[in-house]
Subunit: 398 residues, 2 copies
């Protein structure tokens, strides 16, 4: 038996949590609030069929779809990202600042490969997205949790952690955070960029939910306040286009993009071409605005249904976040409820969630009484039904 | 300026070589024998259009194509790999032994992440594929070159290198090797598996060309001789299906597959779904045999044309390999010719190749008089024309 690399040991605990995250997602008899998958109704399935026909029609882009492509991504998709997704938010950029990657997560992975040495400290939100912690474990970083408020990272705690731990990177999901659904305020966004410059720390801004907002005022990315190239923005097409296409992008300075391109080349050469071409046609054909309005309508209703159902059905003393967008709310239940222990019972009752504990890198039992609930993938009727079942179970567990 | 991770420095030299590898590939006025891209005529473009229509038809797999999928890959593609590509070659396996990855290169990358610690030694063929060396650099392995004969790795040199360097892994491209076009003999395949067991070394068998053979007897993969799980087989769909789809697979024991799956999850969650479904439909719809016969016919003719043209046009004293398949031949020119220095002149004459030097990890000037020539991407007419131009240039350089 040949020994695995030491990074595999570092990954074991988180890998088990991530593996569990996607369980109970495929059994249709279970109402799962677990995964972060979009609703099937929110996928542009019919349109993709039409765009495939266009691509493979005579004189189309069929050969381009099947042949090797450029490592940094298809030119018209990079341009669409710069012009349609970033500049309207106040981000000055052009295609040379954009790298197309195989899903938003790969952007985070590439950034870590480019910057993180074993033992480097990464500051993360408490709670944070467990799947990215798996990446941080792989590069053998040390994750240090920073306390969060209702409007995201606590600025005093963040500065104190920077002074104490001399981190290489701050990892934040500023908008409709995963798992909490919380959003970093405008003032705090500006302050994070200032702190990054002041202490010479990299900020990795992971912003996959920003484009699915259902209420409240749009906020600029942290990147907008970055004058000194301390912020790298990673984003995903999973929520606004399709997760199975595994498409995302990274925005950074041309020098950083070049280094990320080397890592991308050594990881898998380039991102699959047909999904890139479909996504480019989707944006450049002008299909995004209508699709966007439609999916925001679907998710808004589901969010409202879920929050009202929680208020109605969950035990007294339950708190939950009020997300202005994204796919998640975070429920904090009365102490004494152990959501990890309760999950098998929930599944027996044909309803599932993600237990809160796994989202805390502190690994000290924090979050034991919390759960992440996704309102994206189920119809309002199933949300009502599932939350009611969950409420009954929680009440009986008290 | 935030410093990059140390692995980025390790990658710099090879990244520059790999970056150069794909230059002059897109200018249609240049006859490029450089890249390893398949011929546009060898891509199943029309068929892909039809299969897309099937997938996105009502009742089809459209939602599956756009939604998140399983980390190890789509079940019917894993089954097709086991049943149609591996068992016929004598490899005992089932879908649990198969991980679908984003191109053959990603299989190599995942294996390195799972097994290689910084400083570990990897034995490579001399010459070897420079793009995989970029991966070995990224995981900060030490590459040691092993001498090769006309039938691949020299067994005495291999055993001596194992004894001297205590490698963690032997990396070999046994069939129609990149860049040399050479094939490891049957006896040597068996011996490599024996040595791996005897010295407890991992063998990474990279076999992307094995399914495009135009002459000679088919040989079993090294994996067939492996009784002790010392061999991991990585393969690609780039040559038999489409490179832009970025699809490949890894064959290993279920425990190794589980660890590779963790790394895959932390790299980019899973492989893009639409390319996987198209590939599954391609194999399970029975389209492969006819496509395979067609592309082998195309490449056989191009190979024969190129070898004859080299014999006719290159300077006296030139040696070249006689590949039974794959996409490359390797020309060794009279001493004194410097293929690196000559390349800009070749490009001025509208013809390109890959200079030999970059394929030698020895980095001691070896291969200076060699070039890799791909016969895949150009028509026989263009091959005749390009080789004649190159011959004139080489003769004038003597």
């Amino acid at each position: 038996m040949i020994p695995y690399a030491t990074r595999i040991e570092s990954m074991a605990e988180t890998a088990a949590i991530v593996g569990g995250l996607f369980k109970s997602m495929t059994d249709p008899s279970i109402i799962s609030f677990g995964g972060g998958a979009p609703a099937a109704e929110a996928l542009p399935t019919e349109l993709m069929g039409q765009l495939c026909q266009k691509i493979f029609a005579p004189g189309g882009r069929g050969v381009e779809a099947l042949q090797y492509g450029p490592v940094p991504g298809v030119a018209d998709l990079r341009r669409a990202v710069a012009e349609q997704l970033l500049r309207p938010k106040g981000v000055e950029c052009d295609p040379a600042n954009i790298l197309i990657v195989s899903g938003g997560l790969e952007g985070i992975y590439l950034t870590c490969q480019a910057f993180i040495n074993p033992g480097d400290v990464i500051l993360v939100e408490s709670p944070t997205f467990v799947h990215t912690v798996e990446i941080f474990d792989m590069v053998q970083a040390k994750c240090v949790a920073v306390q969060t408020d209702d409007d995201g990272l606590n600025m005093e705690a963040l500065e104190a952690a920077i002074r104490e731990h001399h981190p290489k990177m701050i990892y934040t999901i500023p908008t409709f955070q995963n798992p909490s659904g919380r959003t970093l305020s405008r003032e705090k966004r500006e302050r994070v960029a200032q702190l990054a410059e002041e202490y010479d720390v990299l900020v990795l801004e992971d912003d996959p939910y920003r484009d699915i907002r259902y209420s409240g005022e749009d906020l600029p990315p942290i990147k907008v306040f970055d004058q000194t190239d301390h912020v790298i923005l990673a984003n995903s097409f999973s929520k606004i286009f399709s997760p199975g296409s595994r498409l995302g992008y990274v925005l950074a300075s041309p020098d950083v993009i070049e280094k990320l391109t080397h890592v991308k080349s050594a990881t898998n050469s380039h991102t699959a071409m047909l999904p890139q071409l479909l996504c480019a046609e989707f944006f450049n054909g002008g299909y995004f605005p209508e699709h966007h309005a439609r999916i925001c309508g679907i998710y808004r209703q589901r969010r409202d249904t879920m929050l009202a159902a929680i208020d109605r059905c969950f035990p007294e003393g339950t708190k939950h976040t009020l997300p202005d967008g994204g796919l998640f709310t975070w429920a904090e239940l009365p102490m004494g409820i152990d959501t990890t222990a309760l999950l098998p019972k929930a599944v027996e009752n044909h309803v599932a969630y993600v237990a809160g504990e796994g989202f805390f890198v502190e690994r000290d039992g924090r979050g034991k009484n919390c759960m992440r609930l996704s309102f994206g993938a189920n119809t309002p009727e199933r949300i009502e039904d599932g939350i009611a079942r969950l409420g009954d179970l929680l009440k009986s567990a008290l």
